[in-house]
């Protein structure tokens, strides 16, 4: 793992999408001192906000309000000004399906500037070819003859609606994509989204009657390693998994987590350079699923050997009576050396580590419920 340099390559800013708007945290070059900026879109439910790594100035935010329908806001000046999409993601008229909100945004392949993908609730896949101004459904998924079977009904989703998330583009091939669905599972396309197939072998779905179903799983967060794109990780409703393509069967790497903590959580983060290093934020998935830090003792767990073993990283985090929940998009890493790791909580706190998780510091409190944290 590269740790020679002491500074990140550039200043890091965090984009904090919350239930009540968008905030940013701007770090100094050493990532010691942080300044809170915002809010923007105060009162809007912002599910995701992410910057385009291809041009370093475009940002997209997926928003709705309690009353109003879903939309996308676009910025081409790093968030100073925003414009609404002319044609936000919407299902085809006559399909009887209605987008409740756009949940996930992914910039397209480096060879396709201006292309973005969006995942919605209920599960739909959308594509923009003009930087997010207009969106069209990916018919190969939205109208796939198996889509209904894959997605199940409304009762099969997460509490605030079933979601399509974790849209992953293979950096070697713009036509090779993965998606995750809660519920539904992980699916792969090798033809730019024209056709899809389930990729869930080896993943438990202990809430379903059959022991090894082809689909119907609940991946919470799926990540592809940018330097080794054949390596996938997922934090699932039923554990933590790794898949090394071209293999088809996921390997259970959550079994090595301490039994008192368990392998359940929502987010998963990969090291930007080392494919063997990942972080998770466990939550209590026992009994009625409290979805808070097990025992009220929050901790990040890191593996440096692709999930063979896990180390607890809790120095600086509260030691007791801290019932934190970190949503699936609310944990991320920067590209610094050593890597900075960040997470936001449903109780409105932002925590950071500038030493790959060894020590933690609280950067902000009293923000609204945090839905996503992305670096810029």
């Amino acid at each position: 793992m590269a740790q020679a340099a002491k500074m990140p390559a550039r200043r890091v800013s965090l984009l904090l999408a919350t239930r009540k708007g968008l905030w940013q945290l701007h770090g100094d070059p050493a990532r010691r001192s942080w300044r809170v900026a915002g809010p923007q879109f105060l009162g809007h439910i912002v599910h995701h906000c992410i910057a385009d790594p291809r041009d370093a100035k475009t940002m997209l935010a997926a928003a709705r309000t309690g009353h109003l329908g879903p939309t996308i806001f676009r910025s081409s000046d790093r968030g100073r000004s925003w414009h609404e999409a002319k044609q936000p993601p919407a299902f085809t008229e006559g399909s009887a399906r209605v987008v409740d909100h756009t949940f996930w945004l992914t910039p397209g392949h480096a060879s396709e500037p201006g292309v973005w993908y969006g995942g919605t609730s209920p599960q739909g896949l959308f594509r923009s070819e003009d930087g997010g101004a207009t969106w069209r459904g990916v018919t190969g998924f939205n109208e796939h003859p198996q889509r209904k079977a894959w997605c199940g009904g409304d009762q099969d989703g997460t509490p605030d609606g079933p979601k399509l998330h974790s849209i992953l583009i293979d950096p070697r091939d713009a036509r090779h994509m993965y998606i995750g669905m809660s519920s539904g599972g992980v699916f792969e396309s090798t033809d730019g989204g024209a056709d899809w197939r389930p990729l869930n072998r080896g993943v438990k779905a202990d809430f379903l009657p059959q022991p090894d179903p082809e689909y119907g799983h609940d991946p919470h967060c799926v990540r592809l390693h940018p330097m080794q794109p054949d390596r996938l990780y997922q934090q699932n409703h039923c554990g933590i998994y790794r898949l090394d393509r071209p293999a088809e069967r996921w390997e259970d790497i959550g079994a090595a987590m301490p039994k008192s903590v368990g392998p359940i959580g929502l987010p998963m983060v990969v090291h930007p350079r080392d494919p063997d290093t990942v972080w998770v934020f466990p939550m209590d998935g026992t009994s009625v699923w409290p979805r808070v830090s097990p025992g009220g003792k929050p901790a990040v767990y890191r593996s440096v050997n692709a999930g063979k073993t896990w180390q607890r990283q809790a120095t600086g985090l509260p030691k007791l009576q801290a019932w934190l929940t970190v949503k699936r998009q609310a944990m991320t890493a920067d590209a610094g050396a050593p890597v900075g790791v960040y997470f936001g909580t449903t109780s409105g706190e932002v925590w950071a580590s500038r030493d790959e998780g060894r020590t933690w510091k609280c950067l902000a409190t009293h923000l609204p419920e945090i839905y996503s944290v992305e670096t810029m």
Binding site: G66, H67, G69, T71, V98
Partner: protein, 86 residues
């Protein structure tokens, strides 16, 4: 005719609480609003043509369940953001 616009939609109407729109039906009035204030329709009407869950439309004080009611030139349309919160 006049259309009364609630606070959450006034970012589309330059903060105007009352605007004008034309049409022989509620659907046409909403369509005319979209021409005058691009983006406003999708925030209140979904892609299947239904009034969104927390939006209510009133014509002369009577709630419209869909966009079919016929309108006359002096009718008043009121857009209401219904109860939601937390």
């Amino acid at each position: 005719m006049h259309v009364l616009v609630p606070g959450p939609l006034r970012s589309y109407t330059n903060d105007a609480a009352k605007v004008s729109a034309d049409g022989a039906t509620l659907a046409e009035v909403v369509g005319d609003l979209e021409l005058r204030y691009p983006g406003i329709r999708f925030r209140i009407i979904d892609e299947q043509g239904s009034i969104r869950q927390h939006i209510k439309l009133f014509v002369n004080g009577v709630q419209a369940r869909d966009l079919s009611p016929r309108l006359a030139g002096n009718d008043e349309v009121m857009i209401v953001c219904a109860l939601t919160g937390g």
